[in-house]
C-alpha cells in the first residue's frame, strides 16, 4: 500500500465516520485490474486503492446519485468533468466532496486478446495538462507511482479515421462511459432515428462519430474514458482534443478549468469583433 | 431454405371504422391466414415505417378479411391511422397462443375487458356466438374511461341480443350515460355464473389486469380457469428477437394469453402481480 492510498483511506474513513457523505466513489482491486466501487461504511474503506490502473472516470456516476451527498476520488481530468457538470447544472457542487488525487497518468487498460505484453501509458495522458483536479476539498499528493512506460512504442498515430470508424460496433460504450454525455434523449442513440439509427452499421458511423465529436467540442475534458472503454480502441480523445484546440486558439478557452469561466457559446456577444 | 418468416404478405385496407377518438378498426383483405385462434396476434407492417404486433379482433370464422383495432400511439400506429381505404399494408402471423377455446365447451364464460383490451376479446365473443349453444352463460364485463371511449358500441347491443349478458361501466360518466360508473372491478360480482367452473378471460391495461385478477380470486373463481392476455414489445413474433423473453417464457410464443399460474412465475414488471 502506497502512502497516497493510506492518506486516501484515512480521508474517506473520516468523511464516512463524520457522516459528511453517504457514499464515496472510489476504485478497488478486481483481479489484475481495478474497477469502480461504492463505499458507504467506514469498515469498507480498506477496499479503496489508487494506482495507475484507475482509468475510469467516476464522475460518470454523479448524475445518477444527484439526490445524495457523495464523495468522489478524482484525478485531474475527473475534476475537470465535475466542473463541467456543475457548470451545466447537472450536479450540485455543494453535495459533492471532491477528494483530489495527484495523477501521473494512467495505463491503457488491458484488452481481450491483445498481443501487447507491456503496460503502456495512455495516449491521452501524454497530452494531459491537469495533474490535479481544479476543484478539490481534499488533496492526496503524490498519488500513484509514476507509471513506467514498459512499451517503447509511441502512441499509435494512425490517421486513417475512416477506417478507424469502420471498426466501430456502435455499442455506445463511449457515450455511456463519458461523464458529459448525459442527454436523456441522445440523438445518436436512436431516439430520433432519422439522424442516426442504431442498426445502421456501418452506413452511419461517420455521422455518428462526427456528431458526437461536435457535441463534445469545447466540453470534452479529455479524460479518455471513451477511448479506454471502446472495445475496438478507436482513439476518440485525439479527435476531441483537436476540437478543443480549436476552442483554445479561437477563444482561449479550455473546458473544466474553473467554475467561473463560462463556455464560449454562452458569452457570445452580439456585434462582436465586426 | 425455408420460408422467410420476416416477410409480411400484402393486404389492402378495405374499410376503416372510427371506434373512439384515438382508435380505429381496420378491415384488411384478403385474409392470408389459414385460420387462427381468438386471442392470437399478427404483425402489421406499414411499409417503410415499421412493424408492430396487434391482436386480431375479427372472428376466426371470417375467411375473407381480418380486422384490427388500433389505437394511435407510436410511429407505426400513427402512420396506420393516416392510411386510407385501398392502401396496402403487410401482415404476418398468426402468432402466439390464443384463448383456451377448447376448454370452454359447456362452461360458463366471463369476459373482462378494459379500454382497447376488448379487441382480442371481441374475436373470442364472435367465435363463441357462432356456436352459442355449446356454451353456458356468457358474460362480458367491460369498462372504459368515458362512455365515448367504449369500443364497438354499435356491436355491443347486438351481442346482448344474441345471448351475451353485458355489464358496462365507465370511470367517469358523461351526460346521457345511465350505466354504472366505476372501475371494472366494481361490476365483476354482477354476473351470476358457476364460479368454480367458469373460464375467465381478461385483457386490458396492466394495472387493470392486476386488480381484476385479485378481485376474481376473491369472488371465488378458480385460478386454474383464469386467463389474461399480456403485452410486450416484440420484433419478430416468432421467439427469435429476444425482446419479449421474460422468465423462460416468450410472450410471442407462450403468450400473449397466459394462465393465472403461469403469470405468477413471470418476473415482476411483465407479471401483473
Amino acid at each position: 500500500m502506497s502512502r497516497a492510498e493510506e492518506e486516501l483511506r484515512s480521508i474517506v474513513r473520516k468523511l464516512l465516520e463524520r457522516k459528511d457523505v453517504e457514499l464515496v466513489l472510489g476504485y478497488e482491486y478486481y483481479g489484475r485490474s481495478v474497477r469502480p466501487c461504492f463505499v458507504s461504511k467506514p469498515e469498507e474503506v480498506e477496499r479503496l486503492v489508487w494506482n495507475s490502473d484507475c482509468w475510469f472516470n467516476l464522475a460518470t456516476y454523479l448524475r445518477s446519485l444527484r439526490s445524495r451527498r457523495v464523495g468522489i476520488v478524482a484525478k485531474g481530468c475527473d475534476g475537470r468533468s465535475i466542473v463541467e457538470l456543475v457548470k451545466e447544472n447537472q450536479v450540485d457542487r455543494g453535495s459533492i466532496v471532491v477528494i483530489a488525487v495527484e495523477c501521473n497518468g494512467v495505463f491503457k487498460p488491458f484488452k481481450y486478446g491483445s498481443t501487447h505484453v507491456g503496460r503502456r501509458l495512455a495516449d491521452y495522458c501524454r497530452r494531459c495538462v491537469t495533474r490535479v483536479s481544479p476543484v478539490a476539498d481534499y488533496l492526496v499528493k503524490k498519488g500513484g507511482q509514476a507509471p513506467e512506460d514498459e512499451n517503447t512504442v509511441a502512441g499509435d498515430n494512425a490517421s486513417d479515421w475512416l477506417s478507424l470508424f469502420r471498426k466501430c460496433l456502435k455499442c455506445m460504450a463511449c457515450v455511456k462511459a463519458c461523464p458529459l454525455c448525459y442527454c436523456t434523449e441522445c440523438s445518436i442513440e436512436g431516439f430520433k432515428p432519422d439522424l442516426v439509427h442504431r442498426l445502421r452499421v456501418p452506413q452511419e458511423l461517420f455521422t455518428f462519430h462526427l456528431t458526437r465529436a461536435l457535441h463534445m467540442a469545447g466540453r470534452c475534458v479529455e479524460c479518455g474514458a471513451c477511448e479506454s472503454a471502446c472495445p475496438v480502441e478507436i482513439p476518440l480523445t485525439r479527435l476531441y482534443h483537436e476540437l478543443n484546440e480549436w476552442f483554445r486558439e479561437n477563444y482561449g478557452y479550455a473546458p473544466g478549468m474553473s467554475l467561473s469561466e463560462a463556455p464560449p457559446p454562452l458569452v457570445f456577444k452580439e456585434g462582436g469583433e465586426d | 431454405m425455408g420460408l422467410n418468416p420476416y416477410a409480411p404478405k400484402p393486404a389492402r385496407i378495405v374499410r376503416i371504422r372510427d371506434e373512439t377518438p384515438d382508435t380505429k378498426t381496420f378491415t384488411l383483405s384478403p385474409n392470408c391466414f389459414e385460420g387462427f385462434t381468438p386471442g392470437q396476434f399478427a404483425m402489421l407492417t406499414v411499409y417503410g415505417v415499421g412493424e408492430a404486433p396487434f391482436s386480431i379482433c375479427s372472428s376466426p370464422l371470417n375467411k375473407d378479411c381480418l380486422q384490427f383495432s388500433i389505437r394511435r400511439m407510436g410511429r407505426v400506429t400513427r402512420m396506420i391511422h393516416e392510411a386510407r381505404v385501398g392502401d396496402e399494408v403487410g401482415v404476418r402471423g398468426p402468432y402466439g397462443r390464443g384463448w383456451p377455446v377448447d376448454r370452454m365447451k359447456g362452461r360458463d364464460i366471463l369476459i373482462v375487458g378494459g379500454g382497447i383490451g376488448l379487441a382480442p376479446l371481441r374475436s373470442l365473443v364472435l367465435h363463441l356466438l357462432e356456436g352459442r349453444e355449446n356454451y353456458g352463460e356468457i358474460a362480458v364485463c367491460y369498462g372504459a374511461r368515458t362512455p365515448s371511449l367504449l369500443m364497438y358500441r354499435d356491436e355491443l347491443g347486438e351481442w346482448a341480443g344474441r345471448g351475451v349478458k353485458l355489464y358496462l361501466t365507465v370511470d367517469v360518466g358523461e351526460e346521457g350515460w345511465e350505466g354504472s360508473v366505476g372501475v371494472v372491478t366494481t361490476i365483476l360480482g354482477k354476473p351470476e355464473l358457476d364460479k368454480a367452473d367458469a373460464i375467465v378471460c381478461t385483457c386490458g391495461p396492466p394495472v387493470m389486469i392486476r386488480f381484476v385478477l385479485r378481485r376474481l380470486v376473491e369472488l371465488g373463481y378458480s385460478k386454474e380457469n383464469i386467463y389474461a392476455s399480456l403485452e410486450s414489445r416484440m420484433r419478430c413474433g416468432i421467439g427469435k428477437c429476444g425482446h419479449c423473453h421474460f422468465g423462460g417464457k416468450h410472450v410471442c410464443l407462450d403468450g400473449p394469453v397466459f394462465q393465472y399460474r403461469e403469470m405468477t412465475s413471470l418476473p415482476k414488471g411483465i407479471s401483473p402481480f
Binding site: Y30, S114, Q203 | Y6, G90, R233, R235, G242, G248
Partner: protein, 335 residues
C-alpha cells in the same frame, strides 16, 4: 481421430484457399480479427483469441431481410450465404453456434438467413494453447479442447494437429483431401489425453455449477447482490456487442431505391428502449432489472426456453467491461 502434420496442414490450407473463401484470424494492430485470407501464410494460429467473436459471419450486425417494390409489387428476399471455411475458431466461440442453432433454428419458424449461412460455412475449431485469465469455458463444457458447434475440431499437438470430424460437412471436407491425413497413432492420442488434463488444470476458474440450481436463478434472485453490481454498470452494452452468444435483434424499416426495405441487426438488452412499448409502458424500467436480465437470460431464461446455457465462457465481457462487471461472480454465487 486423424493426424495432420504441420506440412500437411500448410498444404491443406493452400488447397482450401485456392478453392473456397477461407476466413481465418489475421493480426492487425496488436489484435486478431477474422478476415478472408488470400494465401495460407496470412493466417496466424498463435493467438489467444480474436478480439471479436465470429458471430458476424452468421448473424451480421445488419442484414436486409425483406424488400418490397411497391410499383412492380415484387418481393425480393435477399439471401446471404457464400460457401466458406471459417478456420481457427476457438472452441468456446464454436459452442456459441450450437446455442444459435437451438434458438434460431427452433421449429416451426427457423430463421432462414441464419440457416443458409450456417449451412454454407464450415467451422473448423482450434483448441486453445493456453487459457487466459478470464476464461471459464470449462464451466459450460465449451472448451478448451472441444466445443460443440464446429464441423471439425483441430487439436494442436507436437508436430501437427489431431483432426476430429464432428459433422457430415466436416467429414466431407476431410475426405476431399484424404491423402494428407493419417490415422492418429497411440502416441498422438496419449498426448491428446495429457493436453486435455493440463489445459483443464490450467483453467483459472474452478467454478462448480449445477444446472438445476442455475436455472432457478430467476426465482432465487438476491436483489441485494444485483443492486450492488448494477450500481456500477453504466449500461454501455459493450458486453452484448462483443458476446459470441447474444443474438437479440431489432428491425428497422425504411424506403430506399424504390423499395421498402426491412433490416435486422444486433440489439442490446442494456438499452432503455429494449422493452419499452409505444404506449410508454416498460416492463423493465429500472437499471437493476435490465442488469439482472442479462444474467438471468443467459443462465436461466435461455436454458428454460431452449435447453442450453446462453454463455460459453469466452471471457470477453469480463475483460472488456469498463467497470468490472463479472458474470463469474454470479456463477460462483448461484452455480
Amino acid at each position: 481421430m486423424l493426424f495432420l502434420d504441420e506440412d500437411g496442414f500448410k498444404r491443406l490450407l493452400e488447397q482450401l484457399v485456392s478453392n473456397i473463401r477461407v476466413i481465418a484470424p489475421v493480426e492487425t494492430d496488436g489484435y486478431f480479427e477474422f478476415k478472408t485470407i488470400k494465401h495460407g501464410g496470412e493466417a496466424s494460429l498463435d493467438y489467444s483469441n480474436t478480439r471479436l467473436p465470429p458471430k458476424r459471419f452468421f448473424l451480421p450486425q445488419r442484414e436486409v431481410v425483406f424488400k418490397h417494390d411497391p410499383k412492380t409489387r415484387a418481393l425480393h428476399e435477399p439471401m446471404g450465404g457464400l460457401e466458406a471455411v471459417l478456420l481457427g475458431v476457438r472452441p468456446c466461440d464454436a459452442s456459441a453456434l450450437n446455442i444459435f442453432d437451438s434458438v434460431l433454428l427452433k421449429p416451426p419458424n427457423p430463421d432462414p438467413f441464419y440457416e443458409s449461412r450456417r449451412r454454407s460455412i464450415t467451422v473448423v475449431s482450434l483448441s486453445c494453447a493456453k487459457p487466459r485469465e478470464e476464461c471459464f469455458c470449462n464451466v459450460f463444457e465449451a472448451g478448451p479442447i472441444r466445443g460443440s458447434g464446429e464441423d471439425i475440431t483441430l487439436t494442436r499437438i507436437t508436430g501437427g494437429f489431431l483432426v476430429e470430424a464432428r459433422s457430415r460437412r466436416g467429414q466431407s471436407l476431410v475426405e476431399v483431401s484424404a491423402s494428407l491425413f493419417e490415422e492418429a497413432g497411440p502416441e498422438h492420442l496419449e498426448e491428446y489425453g495429457e493436453l486435455t488434463c493440463r489445459l483443464t488444470r490450467e483453467m483459472n476458474s474452478r467454478i462448480e455449477i449445477s444446472r438445476e440450481r442455475l436455472v432457478r436463478l430467476e426465482a432465487t434472485l438476491d436483489e441485494g447482490f444485483f443492486q450492488q453490481a448494477a450500481q456500477r454498470c453504466v449500461e454501455c452494452s459493450l458486453c452484448s456487442f462483443t458476446c459470441p452468444v447474444c443474438y437479440c435483434f431489432d428491425t428497422e424499416d425504411y424506403f430506399e431505391k424504390n423499395a421498402y426495405v426491412r433490416t435486422k441487426g444486433w440489439d442490446t438488452c442494456a438499452s432503455t428502449l429494449f422493452t419499452r412499448m409505444a404506449s410508454g409502458l416498460d416492463p423493465r424500467v429500472s437499471r437493476v432489472d435490465r442488469f439482472c436480465h442479462r444474467f438471468c437470460h443467459k443462465l436461466s431464461r435461455i436454458p428454460m426456453a431452449f435447453n442450453s446455457f446462453g454463455c460459453v465462457g469466452c471471457g470477453r465481457c469480463v475483460s472488456l467491461c469498463p467497470v468490472g462487471v463479472d458474470i463469474r461472480e454470479v456463477l460462483k454465487r448461484w452455480g
